[in-house]
């Protein structure tokens, strides 16, 4: 009997069309897998089995009746708990929202429903997407399926771990400084942050509004492309939504698989290598460069000197925007309330109990950076650095069609190892943050396994704003060349998880 959880979304689509499998069978197989392994992985905060099966039954009946169905109809999906979903609790990983049921759907949630994709459940995340390890979730950490003692990345560790442990073929993530790409890298999966504005943020609980972007998580580049096209597009409910057609990601991925990159210039970012980068990560990165060269690409070196200041600028801009966005958790309209006399004292007590340490740190840092007397030196300077980083990218894209780097400097660390050292934790995102500051799209795909620890490594591809399709072409070409060497996807090399009795 075929184990459908091991199939790609593209294979599931073909099999449903050929009558080899039903959506109910696919959905049930993934719900069974969640029951088997999620006790150990803890990728899900909420499992939505009943509704998922109901959607699946509807798709099967419609197919039976010969109705036209959307491409991904019947393919199950996991959704990061940052997206509001009517009829399912939404917490953003925070105790302050425990048990809250949103009265409306996010635009991306609505699009998944219109695409008739069964939603398997809501995935774990660092509280309000603040973190790189999912250890800052108010509901306990998610474990990396490659080694359960290690972090699955963050903030979207739940989404990436669900895919890497075959609990879902696809998932939704959100990326403010790398929260899709870094978890993809450390779980051996694919993750894409689209161009800022390419996917509506309406109904995504805001962290830093000028940096946040939703995107697809998958095990193959083509699957990510299929989901990207469902999620993307203009939305009048988001004032920063781009009013332009969705990029042709699927066509680009299929073109890439033909394997000819003649004439493509790939720029290696000099500053994202060397000190702090693990040997095995750099080794696999260099091997991937050789593969691209073998497909006809020209490799050039580019320099982005202002990246040195990206992390510092990010940790001023993000907390500033977050401190403002999180003011709405005031014990009045939704979520927790800890009564303590008058309304002001009740707010203070509620936020003390409802927020975790990382959220408190960032709110206080943001309050400080925006306060009178410090605004120009901190927030104002950080916004100028943002301009310098955009200029660096502009100059680099004069010399290259795409830019590349390792996605993360190291393979995943052990749970608990950096929890009391926020600065060490922040270094995870050093290679992913510049794309968010500049609004450009980025992808991470597996580049192999680090020889020294047997854990996955990631390859990051960045493209100019609006040129998302370019990453899919290069990514699919590289993925195919690497898979030929590995004899399949990287995920299929992960150790088998023990199945619960």
């Amino acid at each position: 009997m075929t184990d459908w959880t091991r199939a790609s979304a593209a294979q599931m689509i073909a099999a449903m069309k050929a009558g080899e499998v039903t959506s109910v069978e696919l959905t049930q197989a993934h719900l069974d897998r969640i029951a088997d392994v999620d006790g150990a992985v803890h990728a899900f905060l909420h499992v939505n089995g009943e509704e998922a099966l109901e959607v699946a039954r509807g798709v099967d009946a419609a197919r039976e009746a010969g109705e036209d169905l959307p491409e991904l109809a019947g393919v199950p999906i996991a959704v990061k708990d940052i997206l509001v979903t009517q009829g399912m609790p939404t917490t953003a990983g925070s105790k302050i929202l425990e048990g809250w049921e949103p009265p409306y759907d996010a635009t991306v949630t609505r699009k998944l429903r219109e695409a008739r994709m069964p939603i398997l459940g809501k995935t774990n995340m660092d509280e309000f997407a603040m973190g790189s390890s999912t250890e800052h979730s108010g509901y306990g950490p998610t474990h990396n399926p490659w080694d359960l003692e290690r972090i699955p990345g963050g903030s979207g560790g739940g989404s990436s771990a669900s895919i890497a442990s075959w609990e879902a073929p696809l998932a939704i993530g959100s990326d403010t400084g790398g929260s899709i790409r870094q978890p993809a890298s450390v779980t051996g999966t694919v993750g894409v942050k689209p161009t800022y504005g390419g996917v509506s943020r309406y109904g995504a609980i805001a962290l830093a509004s000028s940096l946040d972007q939703l995107g697809p998580c998958a095990r193959t580049v083509e699957d990510a492309a299929l989901l990207h096209e469902v999620m993307g597009g203009h939305d009048p409910m988001d004032a920063t939504s781009l009013n332009e057609p969705v990029p042709s990601c699927v066509a680009a991925a299929r073109e890439g698989r033909e394997g000819d990159l003649t004439g493509v210039r790939v720029g290696v970012i000099k500053e994202l290598s060397g000190e702090g980068y693990q040997a095995g990560v750099e080794q696999r990165f260099n091997e991937s460069l050789e593969k691209l060269k073998g497909l006809g690409a020209e490799i050039v070196e580019v320099s982005c000197p202002s990246f040195e200041y990206a992390l510092a600028a990010y940790y001023l801009i993000l907390p500033s925007e977050a401190s403002s966005n999180l003011a709405k958790f005031d014990s009045v309209r939704f979520g927790m309330r800890v009564e303590k006399g008058n309304v002001e004292r009740t707010m203070g007590a509620t936020r003390a109990e409802g927020f975790g340490d990382e959220v408190k740190r960032r709110i206080i840092l943001g309050t400080y950076a925006l306060s009178a007397g410090y605004y120009d030196a901190y927030y104002g300077s950080a916004q100028k650095v943002r301009t310098l980083i955009q200029r660096d990218f502009e100059a680099a894209f004069e010399k290259a069609d795409v830019l590349v780097s390792p996605t993360t400097p190291t393979t995943p660390f052990k749970i608990g190892e950096r929890i009391d050292d926020p600065l060490a934790m922040y270094l995870n995102d050093v290679a992913t943050i510049p794309a968010n500051l500049a609004g450009i799209p980025g992808m991470s795909l597996p580049s192999g396994i680090a020889p020294e620890d047997g854990l996955p490594t990631g390859f990051q591809i960045l493209a100019p704003a609006h040129e998302d399709a370019r990453m899919y072409r290069i990514g699919a070409a590289l993925e195919k060349a690497l898979a030929a060497e590995w004899g399949g996807t990287l995920s299929s090399q992960a150790p088998e998880l023990e199945v619960a009795k």
Partner: protein
């Protein structure tokens, strides 16, 4: 720029409406001071001639016609509130000392 002191953290937490115990302040103050020291270098790099970027992709204001459209019902809007009464959010006392 000066580093962040424990008393600064206490004042900022009050401004941000987050109650802090002495233990919280002990734990978070050192970490916050280290973070502030490490991010302060942003002030070194960009000169007066560099414009600030607040938004990554250039775009103009977005408008829509000022028309009544369907929205949440009163019941739905209040459904997630800790307390509601007579179609309104109910809050603890706002003015004066403790009730």
């Amino acid at each position: 720029m000066s580093s962040l002191e424990r008393s600064d953290v206490e004042r900022l937490a009050a401004l941000a409406r987050i109650d802090m115990t002495d233990e919280d302040l002990d734990r978070l103050s050192g970490q916050l001071a280290a973070i502030v020291d490490s991010v302060a270098k942003v002030a070194e790099v960009a000169g007066q001639d560099v414009p600030a970027t607040s938004h990554p992709i250039p775009m103009s204001n977005v408008h829509r016609p000022d028309e009544v459209r369907p929205s949440l019902t009163q019941e739905a809007a209040l459904a997630g509130a800790p307390e509601a009464e007579e179609g309104r959010f109910r809050v603890p006392q706002i003015l004066g000392e403790e009730a």
